[in-house]
Structures are given as structure tokens and as C-alpha cells.
């Protein structure tokens, strides 16, 4: 019997050790730190939550614009403006979008069109990208697409409002409004004036705006753009510098681009020198002599 017991004892000890040290398939953790918590009762469906936010915006818009299939399509974000606007419906969409823009902009300036956090424990509030920003931006894109499809609509654009949006301090709206002005009001707005309108933009928004301004620009415009970028490289913060540098090659500035790179050498030793590897890497793609020129 003893002979049988000994191996069994060994098996039990080994199994016990395995049980203690192996990963457990399920357990109840004493402390919960994650963001996921059991949903409250009564629960709201995702649609109900988003609809409530949207209702606050919709009440600022004309009832005519928020009924019917057109409104539904404007809010169908799975459909790109390019797919939504056709030659046949451009006028209709332009009219609705242009009429929505000032109403949304007005409530956005007042109180973000009523957008709030969902409660005391919710910290999230992106004041650059509320639902009203997104809807306004969507209307601007639809306006732009309508203008592309029907050039005669240019005379109906409220250009003063576009200029106000371009300098509104909202990154996404500024970039989109500037693009509309650049593409459809270039007779009255010259490149230097457009560049001036980007003065308050920083980081990615500044880079996006300059990239768009670089499209269709002539050689004189390219010199103006290069001069603006030179100032950025010489004086602006690391984020704006790198964001612009990332897009520099796509701006097709030719020899102008290479010439202005030397201003970036300041990052070799300045207080944001953690940027030096990235700057070196990106600048060398424009001019492979860049690093040597900084020595």
C-alpha cells in the first residue's frame, strides 16, 4: 500500500504546485482600474445617446433643412461628399449646406451647440472636434464638392463667412474654409493674403493648410510659401516644424525647399532636441547633405 501511496503523494504535490502557479482561467479581481464599468440601468442605446447630442444641434437649424432624405444623406458619413454630390443635385446640396453653415457656426461659438460631458466622472471634451464641428465641416465639404460640380454657384458663396471661418481658431474649419477660398475665390484672394490667414494655426493644421495652398500655385506663389516655411523653420515650435517638414516634399517647392532647411539646425542643441533624429531623418529626404550642412 505504501508503494502505491508514495507516487500518489508525489502526483498530489506536483498538481498542487501547478494549480498554485499556473495562470488561472477565471477569477474575480479585487480592484478594478479599467475604464470599462458595468453599464448603468436603465441603459441607453448608442443611437439614443448620439441622437440626444444631435438633437441639440438640429434645433438651431431650419426645419426645412432637417427633414427628408437630403438631411439624412448629409448625416450619412459613410458616404463621401464626392459620392453624394452629383451634377444633378449640386445646387440643392449647396443651398442646404450653405444655409446650415452660419446656423451651426453661431451655436458652436455660443456653447458648442449644447455639447456637454456625460457627467461628473467623464473628463472627455474635445473642444476642437465636437459633433457641431464635425457637422459644420461636413457641410463645408459638401459646399466645396457642389462648387466643383457647378461653377456657377461661386457667386452665391458668402465669402465673408468663409473668411471668418478660416480665421476662427478651429483647426478643422479653418483648413476647410481656406481650401474653399483658395480654390474658388483666387481672383480676389491672393496667396500672400491666404498665407496670412494661416498665422494662428499650429502643428498639423498649419501643415495641412500650407499643403493645400501649395496646390495649383505658380512659381511666385511657391516663393511666398517657401518664405513662410522658412519663418516656421527658424522660429516656430517643434511640432509645427515637424508637421510642415513631413509634408514639404509634397508641396513641390523645388530648390526653395532645400535652401530653407538650414534653419532646422537649431534643433540639434535646443531644448526640444529630442526632435533632432526625426528632423534629421525628414530633412535628409529633401536634401541628403542636410546633416553635413549643420556641422
Amino acid at each position: 500500500m505504501k508503494k502505491v501511496l508514495l507516487p500518489l503523494l508525489i502526483v498530489i504535490v506536483v498538481a498542487g504546485a501547478w494549480w498554485n502557479f499556473s495562470p488561472r482561467s477565471s477569477f474575480t479581481a479585487p480592484e478594478v482600474t479599467s475604464e470599462v464599468t458595468p453599464a448603468p440601468t436603465p441603459m441607453k442605446s448608442p443611437e439614443e445617446i448620439v441622437a440626444a447630442d444631435y438633437e441639440k444641434i438640429a434645433k438651431h437649424l431650419s426645419a426645412r433643412n432637417t427633414s427628408g432624405d437630403e438631411w439624412k444623406q448629409i448625416n450619412n458619413y459613410s458616404l463621401t461628399p464626392e459620392a453624394l454630390v452629383t451634377n444633378a443635385n449640386a445646387k440643392t446640396y449647396f443651398k442646404t449646406a450653405q444655409s446650415n453653415v452660419p446656423d451651426i457656426f453661431s451655436c458652436l461659438k455660443k456653447d458648442f451647440c449644447g455639447m456637454e460631458t456625460r457627467g461628473e466622472d467623464d473628463a472627455y471634451f474635445d473642444d476642437q472636434k465636437t459633433p457641431a464641428h464635425i457637422l459644420l465641416n461636413r457641410n463645408l465639404k459638401i459646399m466645396k464638392e457642389s462648387l466643383k460640380k457647378d461653377g456657377s454657384l461661386k457667386s452665391e458663396v458668402d465669402w465673408d463667412l468663409m473668411k471668418e471661418l478660416a480665421t476662427s481658431g478651429s483647426d478643422m474649419l479653418s483648413v476647410e474654409a481656406l481650401d474653399i477660398i483658395r480654390e474658388f475665390d483666387s481672383e480676389s484672394m491672393k496667396t500672400d493674403e491666404l498665407i496670412k490667414m494661416t498665422q494662428d494655426l499650429q502643428g498639423q493644421a498649419k501643415a495641412d493648410a500650407l499643403l493645400r495652398l501649395s496646390k495649383k500655385s505658380n512659381s511666385t506663389d511657391k516663393i511666398l510659401l517657401a518664405s513662410e516655411i522658412e519663418e516656421i523653420f527658424a522660429q516656430k515650435d517643434g511640432n509645427t516644424v515637424i508637421s510642415v517638414l513631413e509634408k514639404l516634399r509634397n508641396m513641390s517647392l523645388g530648390a526653395n525647399a532645400s535652401r530653407i532647411l538650414f534653419h532646422l539646425c537649431r534643433f540639434k542643441e535646443n531644448e526640444d532636441k529630442q526632435n533632432w533624429p526625426t528632423i534629421k531623418f525628414l530633412a535628409s529626404k529633401v536634401n541628403n547633405e542636410f546633416e553635413k550642412n549643420c556641422n
Partner: protein, 334 residues
């Protein structure tokens, strides 16, 4: 004595059985929407009723996807040779899904646990007919609604998706559909673990890049004060802590929606200090990884050796400023 032996054998047998499968984790029942069985979702599915080996394989797959996505989005840092920033992004990407979604996007469960209140569309009718019509399109009125009513689901083999907050946060990255409806929601990125991680990591990068590139502007990350001559305080740069940077990006960009709140994590009076403490705990778990991931409310996952080795390299590098990457390269190349 024979009885004792038999009892011991029975106990051993039970022990092995319980290692092969587990009871349903009922804590998860109230954190899930049930997905239409007719809809295919893409990516690993966590099964709390499965055995430890299956669960470990699940977590191994998930970590592999996270590492690949983070590597893709941090490629510029890697290619520029800024390995500290590169490993910080990878570590951040490993931490946030644990903090946000318990390392679960989809749950597979064999039980009648569809939650009628969550899946029903009846609640919507409180809103206006117009907005109901607009937003219903995402989950309810499509030809194959993503969240059908529970009574229309004729199976107990369910696939669910994790939700949080008041129900408006969805997926392993807890993306708020209130704020991200134009892209994440409209383009149905929640139907794929990879696309969800792409979106979530990209949202993190929108905080990581501007903060890291302007690090000297963040007192809590890069600046210290030291006494100079005549007691004057002089601004000095302190060595950047990449783990603090991760905490700042989560506190600011991801949890507050603004990089202006990056230093929230260092403010002892912040109303959200418990959020930040929770994140710190999860970050510390990631940094201390030794082969087993302990996820709150879910359990422990022992990762396969190749992925575990890559994981250890990443968190070792971010803490020690090293660049050991043999195992990581092997995982990324598969």
C-alpha cells in the same frame, strides 16, 4: 484508506477538468452588446468559458496585432532612430487596451445573455423622429442590423462587443461614439479588431506627436526648477521620463480629449486623479510583464514564448533606454 485514495483521484480529476474549461464570467454580461450572428466580425474572440490554453492563445494573438499596429504607426520614430519614442508608443499601445477594454473587443459566450435593454431600439423613440431616423442607420435599420433585438436572435452561441460608460463607449479602445461617429462609427471600424486598434492608436498618436515634439512646454514632463544665485529659481530641463509621457498622453489626449490636459496626471488635486491612478496601475502591470498578463475582472493570460519575449523587449527597452529587438522583429515579420 482506499476511500481516501479514490477521493484524491476524484479531486485530481476535477482539478484537471476545471483547468480545461471555466464558468461564464458573469461580470462581463452587463458590459456587452450582442452582435447579430449574421454579421461577421474580424479578429480574436475572447471566450471566458474556454480553457486556459485557448485563452492564452487569444491574448497572444491580440498582443501580436497590437504590436504590429503600434509598430506601423511609430515607424517614423523607428526609421529616424528615435528608439525611445518608438518603444514608448509600443508600450502605450499595449497599455491602453488593457485600461480601456480589458483586452477584450469581442466575447464569445454560450448562454442566453443578450441584454434586451441594450440591444432594443425602443428606447430611441424618445428622441425626434428625424434624429432617430438618422442614427438608427448605424446599428439598427441596416439590412442586417449590427445590434438586433434580442428576441430576433435565435441562438445561445453569442458574439458580443464590449461597451462602457453610459453605453456610448465601444470596443477594446472604448471609442466614444458621441465624439467619433463620422469615422469610427460610420465606417464600421468596430467590426474589426485591427481597424479598431488602428483608429485607437491613431487617436493616441494625435496626442503623442504634438506633446513629444513640444516637450519643453510641459512642466510635468520636461521642466524642473532649481535654485540659482541669490535664491532665484532657474528653469532647467530634466530628463524626459517616457513612462510619464505615456501617462500624460492618456490623461490629456485620450481621456480628456485635449493635449492641454496632459499634465493632469501630475496634479494631486485633479478631479480625475482616480482615472490617472488606474491608468498608472495598468501601465505598471505592463512594465512589470514577466510572461503573464493580469487583466482586471478577466484573469491571467500566459502569452506564447515568442510574443512574450517581444513584449519583454519592448517594456525593457522603454525603461532602460536599450534597443533589444530580436524577438520583436521576429513577431513583426510574421
Amino acid at each position: 484508506m482506499t476511500k481516501t485514495i479514490l477521493g484524491t483521484i476524484t479531486a485530481l480529476a476535477l482539478l484537471s477538468t476545471s483547468a480545461m474549461s471555466a464558468d461564464r464570467n458573469t461580470s462581463l454580461d452587463r458590459m456587452m452588446y450582442t452582435i447579430n450572428p449574421a454579421v461577421s466580425v474580424s479578429g480574436p474572440v475572447y471566450r471566458d468559458q474556454s480553457d486556459a490554453t485557448t485563452k492564452n492563445a487569444y491574448a497572444t494573438d491580440l498582443v501580436r496585432i497590437i504590436l504590429k499596429e503600434a509598430d506601423r504607426q511609430a515607424a517614423q520614430y523607428r526609421d529616424a532612430g528615435d528608439m525611445k519614442a518608438y518603444y514608448a508608443v509600443l508600450t502605450m499601445a499595449l497599455t491602453v487596451p488593457m485600461q480601456e477594454g480589458l483586452y477584450i473587443q469581442y466575447r464569445g459566450v454560450d448562454a442566453d445573455v443578450c441584454n434586451s435593454a441594450a440591444n432594443s431600439g425602443d428606447l430611441l423613440k424618445k428622441g425626434s423622429a428625424t434624429t432617430y431616423g438618422i442614427f438608427n442607420q448605424y446599428f439598427k435599420t441596416a439590412e442586417t442590423p449590427f445590434f438586433p433585438n434580442c428576441e430576433d436572435i435565435n441562438t445561445n452561441k453569442l458574439t458580443q462587443i464590449i461597451r462602457g460608460g453610459d453605453g456610448s463607449d465601444l470596443s477594446i479602445m472604448q471609442v466614444s461614439i458621441r465624439w467619433h461617429f463620422d469615422d469610427f462609427l460610420a465606417l464600421k471600424k468596430y467590426e474589426s479588431v485591427e481597424k479598431t486598434l488602428q483608429y485607437g492608436v491613431s487617436h493616441l498618436m494625435k496626442g503623442f506627436n504634438p506633446v513629444y515634439r513640444n516637450i519643453s512646454a510641459y512642466e510635468c514632463l520636461a521642466n524642473g526648477k532649481k535654485s540659482g544665485f541669490f535664491g532665484k529659481k532657474a528653469k532647467v530641463l530634466k530628463e524626459l521620463s517616457y513612462t510619464d509621457l505615456i501617462r500624460g498622453v492618456w490623461a490629456g489626449q485620450y481621456n480628456s480629449g485635449s493635449i492641454t490636459k496632459t499634465c493632469r496626471f501630475a496634479d494631486p488635486n485633479s478631479p480625475y486623479k482616480n482615472h490617472d491612478k488606474g491608468f498608472e496601475r495598468n501601465l505598471n502591470k505592463i512594465l512589470a510583464f514577466n510572461g503573464v498578463l493580469a487583466v482586471d475582472m478577466v484573469g491571467n493570460f500566459k502569452l506564447d514564448s515568442d510574443v512574450a519575449a517581444a513584449f519583454k523587449e519592448v517594456v525593457g527597452n522603454v525603461q532602460n533606454g536599450t534597443n533589444n529587438n530580436t524577438a520583436l522583429k521576429a513577431v513583426l515579420s510574421k
